[in-house]
Amino acid sequence: MRAFSGIAIALLTAACADKLEADPAGNVDEAETGFVQNGKFASKPLADGVTETKVDAYDSESWQRFDLDTGLPANDERTWDLEFSRYFIHTNSGVSGDGGVEVLAIDASFASVTDAPNDGYAVDREDSDGDTNSEPDNPFNSPEHSWFDYDVNKHTVSAHPDRVYVVRSSEGATFKLEILAYYDKAGTPSQLRFRWQSLAAAGD
């Protein structure tokens, strides 16, 4: 009986194993060189006045705002141009803000866009039933001009190639912008990477 009591006690106390813990070092990749971190954004100057920017838009509860005019994150209601959360992008216009930002999508290579078209720009409008989300409609998330392609079989998001957005900023400047990637090197989603350039500079 003593043996059984011992086993029974062992059984009851053994029912609670240690908590599983992730690698304490976090095994995080080293940061890419050349990028200057500013809040959730990191930017790196490329040749010819082009800038490459990364944003951590993983937090679905908040929006990460960016000011193209300064190349920095923006907290001011008036100066931000674009805001990011997961795979959604808003512009500071229409139902999303009072910044007067406008966007136009062009299917062309980034290098080939050197001038800002005069018309065809859109602001953020109330969501219509033409898509599968309830976000405001703008060229970034419209079915025809969406920045991404969604593979319904693999459930992966990839940047639509050769799609350039011309953005008229809150300061009235024009920029061209192309989204390059949705996942970072470690496969983390909502790590949007885009390159952009002032069209005043591009036209020089």
């Binding site: 029974a8 029912a15 095994n27 993983y58 997961r86």
Partner: protein, 611 residues
């Protein structure tokens, strides 16, 4: 006379059971070389074991694993992942026998018993003293250790202690980083005490603890890699009182089980997607079953059951609670029986009523017929309605796939799935040969699937609903021969046709043709046993998601991989009763493909000692 328990929930002679009960006995378990129940069942006729990172799951009569009820000592077990019980949790060394009852069993067992019931009966020593130890090691880091001691230190007290350890390396397909099968390390220990109060009354108390570590590598959308660690623990305590007086028997059981599943995903190269879950399930069951042999012609089983289940999981929008009350009755009426043993007709009606806190009430009737045309020729037929209660996951899930940007949500309004099952068969036997053939059909309705919709917050959302239906039908045939004491063999072939009403195509992964063989050669003079177990699955259809000329659904293409042959061999040499040494090879043909993960060929050696 061989006794079985599963077809009536109480002991009865096998040849009078309402449904044909297939029994895998202790000797066969030992000779097979199987390490766990999954390995034991994977080469049985008509059964199929699918392996994934969730473990090993059983498919019966063309149905998915959640439609076959898995019991341990007649009780439900906790820790189902996606409605599926991992059969490799149950080590072979602790098992006395496995009973398989095919066909609808909801009239006795309620939810999940649509395709059939598999009852794993743990060892229950009746000897004054016995001790056993087993050690086995092989390729792919396979290691199995088991020991048990049982006896009667003082009459009328019986005591049994068991402990075992199993491990196997992870398996990854060539060229892949992710693991197809996890590395597995499993410990278990158990104790059972029985007390024979008097000639009529037996009391039993038992406890069992199981701990399993799974380690593997997962790949997410977007190329993220994860080191996955899983730690599962299962604790079970139960008591049972058996009363046997003349023609009457009463069994009262109670059990409590707890299942804890810790799940850790550690993203490589970042920690944004790291995830830790601590899921805990409590399962309590109280069962009373009374059985009366009124006369040679009338037998009645009456039972009542209570079930309490509680699941706390980070994946659920709130903890799941379930309470279920059920009552069931089954009566066997031998309408006539000639003294010769021929022309014996037995009618077995049964019904069960379930009242569940979540899906409401459910009535599951059944009718079985057994007609012995000749002393060695029997016809059987049965019809039963069955159901499967929606799982907590299907009702309460809240899971966001951040990499892909979709959400899966449960639906608390789900109803139980229901089914009609029918089978009819013939069995013919003599001392050396047994032949059988059974036709079966299952029709499932209100099956739970998920549909996509637009979420309130934007983005895509999948929600569960009772939307689809399916059927499976086929013929199971088997021939067993015992040519002399040296040669025993069983050959079986099952044809299965299936239909998935949602996608209007065959059910995925269910082979229309499956053949299996068990051959045992014994040489008594040299005390040698040789066992070969094999199975062949032909015509499995899978649907891959790239559009092509054979597209049968939006973006999906049907693929029929090469036939899948499985072959295990084992040879054992006994040195009297106390010692046996053995060697074997699992998966001799190195089978396995992109659709079916099988451990690679594994050569092993070992020894078993007995006192």
């Amino acid at each position: 006379m061989e006794m079985v328990v599963t077809a009536a929930r109480i002991e009865e002679p096998r040849d009078r059971a309402a449904n044909t009960t297939e029994v895998i006995r202790r000797k066969e378990i030992e000779r097979s070389g199987a390490r766990d129940v999954a390995e034991l069942l994977e080469t049985r006729g008509g059964l199929q074991v699918a392996r994934s990172f969730r473990g090993s799951e059983l498919q019966l009569r063309g149905l998915d694993p959640q439609y076959t009820l898995i019991l341990v000592d007649g009780e439900r077990v906790p820790g189902q992942i996606d409605g599926v019980t991992d059969l490799s949790r149950y080590g072979a060394e602790n098992i006395e026998r496995v009973e398989i009852v095919r066909g609808p069993g909801s009239a006795l067992y309620g939810s999940d018993a649509i395709g059939g019931v598999v009852n794993i009966l743990t060892r229950e020593s009746k000897k004054d003293f016995e001790a056993q130890a087993l050690g086995s090691a092989g390729q792919n880091d396979v290691l199995d250790l088991a020991a048990s001691v049982a006896g009667r230190p003082v009459e009328p007290l019986g005591l049994q202690l068991t402990g075992d350890f199993h491990q196997a390396a992870a398996f990854r397909r060539p060229g892949e980083i992710k693991t197809a099968l996890s590395e597995r390390r499993q410990w278990s220990s158990g104790a059972r005490v029985s007390y024979q109060l008097d000639d009529d009354n037996l009391l039993m108390v038992s406890g069992h603890y199981l701990r399993t570590n799974f380690d593997g590598i997962d790949e997410g959308a977007g190329g993220a890699l994860f080191t996955r660690s899983q730690l599962q623990e299962q604790l079970r305590a139960s008591f049972e009182h058996r009363l046997s007086r003349g023609r009457y028997r009463l069994s009262s059981r109670g059990s409590y089980s707890q299942f804890r599943d810790q799940y850790l995903l550690d993203q490589r190269g970042a920690n944004v997607l790291d995830r830790y879950e601590n899921n805990r399930e409590h399962l309590g069951q109280l069962t009373s079953i009374a059985h009366a042999d009124w006369s040679d012609s009338h037998r009645t089983t009456l039972g009542a059951e209570q079930l309490f289940q509680d699941l706390q999981s980070a994946r659920l929008s709130r903890p799941g609670h379930r309470y279920r009350l059920a009552a069931f009755a089954q009566h066997a009426w031998r309408v006539f029986a000639a003294a010769s043993g021929a022309h014996e007709l037995e009618i077995i009606p049964g019904v069960r009523f379930d009242a569940d806190a979540q899906f409401g009430t459910r009535l599951s009737p059944k009718l079985a017929l057994r007609y012995r045309v000749l002393p060695a020729l029997e016809l059987r037929a049965s019809y039963g309605r069955g159901f499967r209660a929606p799982s907590f996951q299907e009702q309460l899930l809240r899971f966001e796939n951040a990499s892909a940007g979709y959400v899966i949500v449960g639906n608390p309004e789900l109803r139980a799935e229901n089914s009609d099952g029918f089978d009819a068969g013939v069995r013919l036997w003599n001392d050396a040969l047994e032949l059988s053939a059974t036709f079966f059909r299952n029709d499932l309705r209100n099956m739970i699937t998920y549909v996509s919709r637009r979420s309130d917050a934007g983005g895509m959302e999948f929600v569960y609903d009772n939307l689809t239906n399916a059927w499976t039908m086929g013929v199971e045939t088997a021939a067993s021969a015992r040519l002399d004491e040296r040669v025993t063999c069983t050959l079986s072939y099952t044809y299965t046709a299936t239909w998935d009403g949602e996608n209007r195509r065959k059910l995925e992964g269910k082979p229309p043709h499956r053949a299996s063989a068990y051959v045992q050669l014994s040489e008594p003079r040299w005390q040698l046993d040789f066992v070969a177990r094999g199975a062949l699955s032909v015509g499995r259809t899978f649907y891959v998601s790239d559009a092509g000329p054979e597209a049968v659904d939006a973006g999906e293409r049907a693929v029929v991989p090469e036939p899948l042959p499985q072959l295990d061999l084992r040879v054992a040499k006994r040195f009297g009763r106390p010692l046996e040494v053995f060697a074997g090879v699992d998966n001799l043909l190195a089978a396995g493909d992109a659709y079916t993960a099988l451990r690679p060929r594994t050569v092993y050696v070992g020894a078993r000692g007995r006192y």
